[in-house]
C-alpha cells in the first residue's frame, strides 16, 4: 500500500483549493460582512458600513415570507434530488443497453440541459399557460383532466410546476454522469457474478449499485447544491409567485437586494443557504468513509 504521501500529491490537492479560495473567498466574506451591516444605496460603495450584528438575521427569521420560502427551498431540493437521481439512474441504465440509436438519443436528451435557464423558463411558461398551453391541451385531449389546470396562477400548483420543469431541465445532466460512471465498472465483475449464477437484478444490486455508490452520492451532493442555487429558470417561469408559492432562497435574496434595495437583508438570506449547504457538505463528507475502494 502506498505510504508515501508524496509532496506532489499535496501540491495537487492544494492548487485547485487555493484557486477557489482566492477567487471566491473574498466574495463570500463580502456577503457575510454585508449581512452583518446596515447597507443602503448611500453606503453601498464603501466597504465599511454601520455594524448591526445579527439584526438582519433576526428580521429575516421573523419574516413569515422567509419561513415559507425556506420551506419551499427544502421541498424543491428534496424532490429534485430524488427525482433527478432516480430518473437519471433509470435512463442511464436504459441507454447502457446496446440497441440501435441508443447513443444518439442519449446525446439528444442533453439538449434540454444546454438551454439557457431563461429559455427553459419561457418555454415552460407557455406550455403551462392555462388557456393556450400545450400541457393542458394534451391533458384535456387525453381526457385526463376535465378543465384547465392553473399551473402557474394557482398557488397550490406553482411549486409542482416549477419542480417538474427543473427536473426536466437537469435530469440529462445527472444521467450522463451516471452513464460515465457505469462505463468505468470493469466488465469482469459482471462476468464473475454471472458465473456465480446471479441474474440481472442481482447483478444490479451486488455489482452495479455498490460500484456506483460513490458517484451517486457525489451526484446527490451536486444536485442538492445546484438546486439550492436554482435561479434563472424559476425567475423566468414564475418569478417566485404566485404569492411566493414557488419562491426559493436565492430568488428571495435577489428580490430583497435588487428590487427592494435592502442589501443587508438580501445578504442575510443568502447566508442561510451557506449554513444549509455546510450541513449538506458535512453529511456528504461523512459518507466518504463508506465508499467502496477497489
Amino acid at each position: 500500500m502506498a505510504h508515501r504521501a508524496s509532496p506532489l500529491l499535496y501540491v495537487f490537492l492544494l492548487a485547485p483549493v487555493f484557486y477557489l479560495v482566492a477567487l471566491i473567498g473574498f466574495p463570500l466574506l463580502y456577503n457575510i460582512a454585508m449581512s452583518l451591516q446596515d447597507v443602503t444605496l448611500r453606503n453601498l460603495g464603501q466597504l465599511v458600513r454601520p455594524f448591526v450584528g445579527l439584526d438582519n438575521f433576526r428580521d429575516v427569521v421573523a419574516d413569515p415570507t422567509f419561513r415559507k420560502v425556506f420551506g419551499n427551498s427544502l421541498v424543491f431540493v428534496g424532490v429534485n434530488v430524488v427525482g433527478q437521481v432516480s430518473l437519471g439512474l433509470v435512463a442511464a441504465l436504459f441507454f447502457a443497453e446496446t440497441f440501435a440509436g441508443a447513443n444518439f438519443l442519449r446525446g439528444l436528451l442533453l439538449a434540454t440541459w444546454m438551454l439557457p435557464g431563461l429559455v427553459v423558463g419561457a418555454l415552460w411558461k407557455w406550455m403551462y399557460a392555462s388557456q393556450y398551453g400545450v400541457v393542458n391541451y394534451v391533458l384535456q385531449a387525453l381526457h385526463l383532466t376535465t378543465g384547465p389546470i392553473n399551473w402557474l396562477s394557482d398557488p397550490a400548483m406553482a411549486m409542482t410546476a416549477v419542480v417538474m420543469a427543473h427536473i426536466w431541465f437537469i435530469m440529462p445532466f445527472t444521467m450522463i454522469l451516471i452513464a460515465a460512471a457505469l462505463t468505468a465498472i470493469p466488465g469482469d465483475l459482471y462476468e464473475a457474478a454471472a458465473l456465480d449464477g446471479a441474474g440481472p437484478l442481482a447483478r444490479f444490486r451486488y455489482v452495479t449499485l455498490p460500484a456506483l455508490k460513490p458517484t451517486l452520492l457525489a451526484v446527490c451532493c451536486l444536485v442538492t447544491i445546484y438546486s439550492m442555487r436554482a435561479f434563472d429558470l424559476i425567475f423566468a417561469l414564475t418569478g417566485g409567485g404566485p404569492l411566493d408559492a414557488s419562491n426559493v432562497l436565492p430568488l428571495l435574496s435577489y428580490q430583497f437586494s435588487f428590487q427592494q434595495f435592502r442589501f443587508g437583508i438580501g445578504a442575510a438570506v443568502g447566508t442561510f443557504a451557506v449554513v444549509f449547504v455546510f450541513a449538506v457538505a458535512l453529511l456528504y463528507v461523512r459518507t466518504l468513509k463508506y465508499e467502496a475502494r477497489p
Partner: protein, 408 residues
C-alpha cells in the same frame, strides 16, 4: 491559450484606449433593444452634431437595468448617463446617487419644464431639487378588437365608457368555445401590476394612502370579479404587459389595457381591426385617470462627464427630436409638441388625450416597498386566497407606516 490570452489583452487595451483621443466619451446605459427606438437615432445624431463629446452606449437587458445600476454604485463605476424607470428615480436620488440638475435645467435654453405635461413636471423631483427628466411619457389606454365587437353585436365606434359598460362588454365578448376572454390586464407580481391597477384605484376615488378605504376595495373587487366571472383569464397574474398584448394580438383577449409602446407590434402582428379608447370612468365618479409611465434621463453620482451628459440630455429633449419618436410609440413629454400626420392617427389622438389625465407614481424613495404590498393584495384577491377587503387592509397596514415616515 497564450495566444488567445495575448489577443484578448491586446483587444481589451485597444478598446480602452480607443476612447481617450481628442473626444470626451459620454457613457450611456439604456435598455432599448428595439431598432426603431429613438435613442439610436439620437445617439448617432448627437455624435455627428458636434466634436467635443461622443456617446458610447451600452445596451443593458431591461430586466437587469436596476441591478446593473446598483452594481455600478457598489463598485464605483457608474455611467455618465442612464435611463431609469420613473418610479426608481426617487430611490436613487434620496440616497444621493444622482447628480442634482435643478439649476442646469432652469438655465437651459432647450428645456422648458413649463411646457411639459403635469406628471413629468413633478416626477424626478426629490425634496425640491430635480434629479432626472422624462425622456418620454406614456399612459395606459384600452385596446379593443373591433371585429370581435361586431361579431357579438357591439358597436366598435361606440366603445365602453364606464366601468359598467366595460364589464357588460367583457361579458358579451367572452366566448369559451372560441377561447376568447373579454378583458385582459396585467396582474404580474411586479411593478407592472401596480402600474396597471392604479388607474382603476384612482378612478374609484381611492388613493394609495387609504388602501383600506371602500373606494380602493371597490377597485380591487372590480378586477377580482372580472377574473372570477371568467371575463379575464386566471393567467393574468402571470402575464406581463406585453404578454397581455400578445394574447390580444392572437385574438384571445377582446379588450386589453396597454400602452403606446405596443403599437409598432400591434400594427405588424394584429390581423384584425384594432382600436384604442381612453380608460373608462367609474359610474357616478367620473374621474378620468391613467398611469403615467416612461423612462427618465439621469446622471449618476460619480459620472465623469457631467457636462457632456447634460448636453446629450438637452439634445434629446428638443421638441423637434420627438417628431420621430411616435414611430415607435414614444410620446413626447412636452404637451406642445404635436406630431404632424402621425402613424395610427386614431391611437395618437387617444393617447394624447389620455396622457393629460395620467398620474405619476410617487415620487417616493421607498416606492418598491409601497408597490409590493399592492402587488401582493392584487395576487391574493385574484387567486381567491383572500377577499379584496382583507387583502387591501393588510396592504394598507404595510404601506401606511412607510407613508407616515415619509409622505409623498
Amino acid at each position: 491559450m497564450t495566444k488567445k490570452l495575448m489577443l484578448a489583452c491586446v483587444a481589451a487595451s485597444w478598446l480602452m484606449t480607443g476612447g481617450a483621443m481628442a473626444q470626451k466619451v459620454v457613457t450611456l446605459w439604456h435598455p432599448y433593444n428595439q431598432e426603431t427606438d429613438l435613442i439610436h437615432v439620437g445617439i448617432k445624431a448627437f455624435n455627428e452634431s458636434q466634436k467635443e463629446y461622443r456617446i458610447e452606449a451600452r445596451l443593458v437587458p431591461y430586466t437587469q437595468l436596476t441591478a446593473e445600476m446598483i452594481k455600478a454604485v457598489a463598485t464605483g463605476t457608474p455611467p455618465d448617463l442612464v435611463t431609469l424607470n420613473d418610479p426608481v428615480v426617487a430611490s436613487f436620488a434620496s440616497q444621493d446617487q444622482l447628480v442634482d440638475i435643478t439649476d442646469r435645467i432652469k438655465n437651459s435654453k432647450v428645456i422648458d419644464l413649463g411646457l411639459y405635461y403635469k406628471g413629468p413636471q413633478t416626477s424626478g423631483v426629490w425634496k425640491g431639487r430635480r434629479y432626472s427628466i422624462a425622456r418620454e411619457v406614456n399612459a395606459l389606454a384600452l385596446f379593443y378588437n373591433a371585429d370581435l365587437f361586431r361579431a357579438k353585436g357591439l358597436d366598435p365606434d361606440k366603445p365602453p365608457r364606464t366601468w359598467a359598460e366595460v364589464r357588460a362588454a367583457a361579458e358579451k365578448l367572452t366566448d369559451p368555445s372560441k377561447r376568447v376572454f373579454g378583458m385582459g390586464f396585467s396582474a404580474h407580481a411586479s411593478e407592472q401590476s401596480t402600474f396597471q391597477f392604479l388607474p382603476w384605484l384612482w378612478q374609484a376615488g381611492g388613493s394609495i394612502d387609504k388602501l383600506d378605504a371602500p373606494e380602493a376595495i371597490e377597485a380591487l373587487q372590480y378586477w377580482t370579479d372580472m377574473v372570477q366571472k371568467g371575463y379575464a383569464s386566471k393567467d393574468v397574474i402571470t402575464q406581463q404587459q406585453n404578454d397581455v398584448i400578445n394574447s390580444f394580438m392572437a385574438g384571445n383577449y377582446a379588450m386589453a389595457v396597454g400602452g403606446p409602446w405596443e403599437l409598432p407590434r400591434i400594427q405588424k402582428d394584429a390581423k384584425f381591426d384594432w382600436r384604442v379608447t381612453t380608460l373608462p370612468v367609474k359610474d357616478g365618479k367620473n374621474i378620468r385617470a391613467s398611469s403615467l409611465g416612461g423612462f427618465h434621463f439621469a446622471i449618476p453620482k460619480g459620472a465623469k462627464e457631467v457636462d457632456g451628459a447634460f448636453k446629450a440630455i438637452e439634445f434629446m429633449s428638443r421638441p423637434t427630436f420627438f417628431q420621430d419618436g411616435w414611430k415607435s410609440g414614444l410620446m413626447s413629454p412636452r404637451s406642445d409638441s404635436e406630431v404632424k400626420d402621425p402613424l395610427w392617427p386614431q391611437a395618437y389622438a387617444v393617447f394624447r388625450e389620455q396622457v393629460k389625465y395620467a398620474v405619476q407614481r410617487g415620487p417616493h424613495p421607498d416606492w418598491p416597498e409601497i408597490s409590493k404590498p399592492i402587488q401582493t393584495a392584487i395576487q391574493e384577491s385574484l387567486t381567491g386566497s383572500k377577499p379584496p377587503a382583507q387583502a387591501m387592509k393588510e396592504a394598507a397596514a404595510k404601506v401606511n407606516p412607510i407613508l407616515a415616515k415619509t409622505p409623498f
